[in-house]
């Protein structure tokens, strides 16, 4: 526990602090720049982009060694990965636009083929004399051991630029995500904006390669926006909430992994993000599962209460246990189903409401108002007192509620 607190407060050593800050920044950048890809319903493009970085890493290494360099320069490797990821993106876009294949097929094809090429290049590198200690495999699952200050700077600068670009481009990207035809009609170049959207994701994938690896960076691009979507219906808030979720997951995940042995950073970050997602899925207001269950229960109770009272008014016996419990709890019936004084009054009120609605639907012309009849809404919420007085006039004078069955 103390190890966890130390790490949380960045007291667990230079490397752990660097990793925690880097992971937090990366999470923020990935969450916010993944938002529009998710809103555009193309979240899995990021999967293809991430896998398409692998051949670039291999090619860059081979090229740098061939030019007499070390081959392990991070900037060089990342530049290489950006090039092939961009080629992968263009290919997805080209296949989906030019051929009859759907976008999902294009994504899967690019993902599998580029990853295969990458593996081929890795085996080529293993055979090179300079490649024995290249450690390029760490790009698959990421590695935080030996993270340098320079790496953290790459993440910080790149991440800031990505968030900034997301914020600046939020208007065209929102338009394209929600209504691309309208965006095209008012003169935006939809294709270019789509490419920009994917380019941002590519940039974040590239800077995150070293830390979480190319297979798990996808999670940081998808899970935070999906999570954020539960909490708000406004796209510009989704950006920041997704950034916050991603940042929290990155920071907490890195801290957790530093506080105990054998906890690899990348997977822990993803699992923390997944935990936040599950909590949001269950407990978010409005869109969460719990909220939906409560909404359903309230609706059910209203229907049963109303039907129960109508049955009382018609002097039917209520046999359904849930309705009985519901009415008994309000003191409207006795446990044996006999209505109380209050129950008879309520039943009369509901029955009058039903009759008024029947008249309203017969004589009123406005379907927008009469269409609101759902057997639950009190008529006072829809019509004015004058109108209701008119319905009552047509109904005639009030009739007394007959004594309940049990009293007879």
């Amino acid at each position: 526990m103390t190890a966890f607190l130390d790490a949380l407060l960045l007291q667990a050593g230079y490397n752990a602090a660097l990793v925690a800050i880097g992971a937090g920044l990366l999470g923020f950048a990935a969450g916010s720049s993944g938002t529009f890809l998710f809103l555009r319903k193309r979240a899995l493009v990021s999967d293809a982009v991430a896998h398409a970085t692998l051949p670039g890493v291999g090619l860059a290494f081979i090229l740098m060694v061939a030019l007499g360099g070390d081959g392990r320069s991070l900037i060089g490797l990342l530049a290489g990965s950006a090039v092939t990821a961009w080629i992968g993106l263009l290919l997805i876009e080209w296949i989906a636009r030019r051929t009859r294949l759907a976008e999902d097929a294009a994504i899967g094809a690019v993902l599998g083929v580029f990853f295969g090429l990458g593996i081929v290049l890795l085996t080529v590198i293993q055979a090179m004399s300079a490649g024995r200690q290249a450690g390029l495999e760490s790009f698959l699952l990421g590695s935080t051991a030996g993270m340098l200050f320079q790496d953290a700077v790459v993440i910080a600068v790149g991440g800031t630029l990505a968030v900034l670009a997301t914020w600046l481009l939020r208007r065209p990207m929102t338009l394209v995500a929600f209504d691309s035809d309208y965006a095209a009609a008012i003169g935006y170049d939809v294709r270019r904006i789509d490419l920009l959207m994917m380019g941002l994701v590519m940039a974040v994938s590239v800077i995150g390669l070293k830390l979480v690896g190319l297979i798990l960076i996808v999670a940081m691009l998808i899970i935070p926006p999906v999570t954020a979507r539960f909490w708000t219906d406004r796209s510009n808030r989704v950006i920041w909430i997704a950034g916050g979720v991603g940042g929290a997951a990155g920071y907490l995940g890195a801290v957790l992994s530093a506080s105990a042995p054998d906890l690899p950073t990348g997977p822990i970050i993803v699992l923390v993000a997944a935990a936040i997602f599950v909590v949001s899925l269950l407990f978010a207001p409005e869109r969460g599962v719990l909220a939906a269950v409560l909404r359903h229960r309230r609706f059910q109770a209203r229907v049963h209460r109303r039907q129960g009272l109508l049955a009382l008014a018609a002097q039917h016996l209520i046999r359904e246990p849930y309705t009985l419990r519901l009415l008994a709890r309000e003191g409207l019936v006795r446990p044996d189903g006999v209505p109380t004084e209050a129950g008879r009054a309520q039943a009369a009120k509901i029955a009058r409401d039903e009759r008024r609605w029947a008249v309203a639907r017969e004589i009123h012309q406005d379907a927008g108002l009469t269409g609101r009849y759902d057997g639950l809404t009190p008529i006072e919420e829809v019509f004015t007192t004058d109108e209701i007085a008119e319905f009552d006039r047509r109904l005639g004078p009030p009739v007394p509620v007959n004594p309940a069955v049990g009293d007879a």
């Binding site: 899995l44 030019r98 994504i107 094809a109 993902l111 599998g112 990853f115 295969g116 055979a127 698959l140």
Partner: protein, 311 residues
Amino acid sequence: MGAEFVQFSLTPILIGTFAAIACALPGNFLILRRQALIGDAISHVVLPGIVVAFLITGIVAAIPMLLGAAGAAIVAVILIEAIRRLGNIEPGAAMGVVFTTMFAAGVLILEQTDTSRVHLDVEHALMGNLESLVWFRAEGWHSLLDPAALATLPDELGRIAVACAIIVALTLVFWRWLKIATFDEGFAQALGIPAAALGFGLVVTAAIAAVAAFDAVGSIIVIAMFICPPAAARLMTNRLEHQIWWSVAFATLSAVLGYVFAGYGPLWFGGENAVSAAGMIAAVSGVILGLACLYGPHRGRVGVGKEEAAA
């Protein structure tokens, strides 16, 4: 093409071919149903399935691992469906959430347990190890008739051959149902075909293919096998029967050429070491798809004019 070929290349080529065909058959239907990325999700969750199976049984044996992986695939499909419905989230994002989380859990469990003594590591799971599946006892073509030598064939060959046969049989048995339900689900339901169960069965079949092929070609390259040959076949014809045949042909071609290029290609360029065969198979299937995209007779989208398509 003598003894050495039989010893070192025959079994990997056969395994690669069976794996490619086993994946391509369900892949045809996944592509037509726009569920191509289910293959992506399944191939990622194979790893956690295998790791959990190892944790429970404590042994590295084929059957528990196959069961574990198939179980993980089914769990993943159920989770994806649950998140999609409960959270009202589009299927792609739901998939992304589920398979990355399960993959991360798999890596974590793998790191937490002492697997140094067993042959189970992430890179192997991702990349496959086709080259190592050699037939040591073979001395030439005549070994194919020698029971003692045949008994030492790699187990993987038998497994993938059985899996491939099962998938071919399933495709034949459910052919009419699959065809109708893929193109017109409403009509299929009207005929009384259990379309939802059929869709789930298709995904499970894909999982079986992925798991069986995983042994040989690794989990990621399975995706290429699911998608590339059927996608290329889709651009060659408008008839489902022909598309299936094209996809089988492309899958076989990718497996054979891929293995040959990986094993012998570097020697032609003066290199000494072979490169990853699984990776090369995926690359060849990608080249085939690329050629089909450029020259396939039915590559265009219906309704797109020539000028627009050329732009």
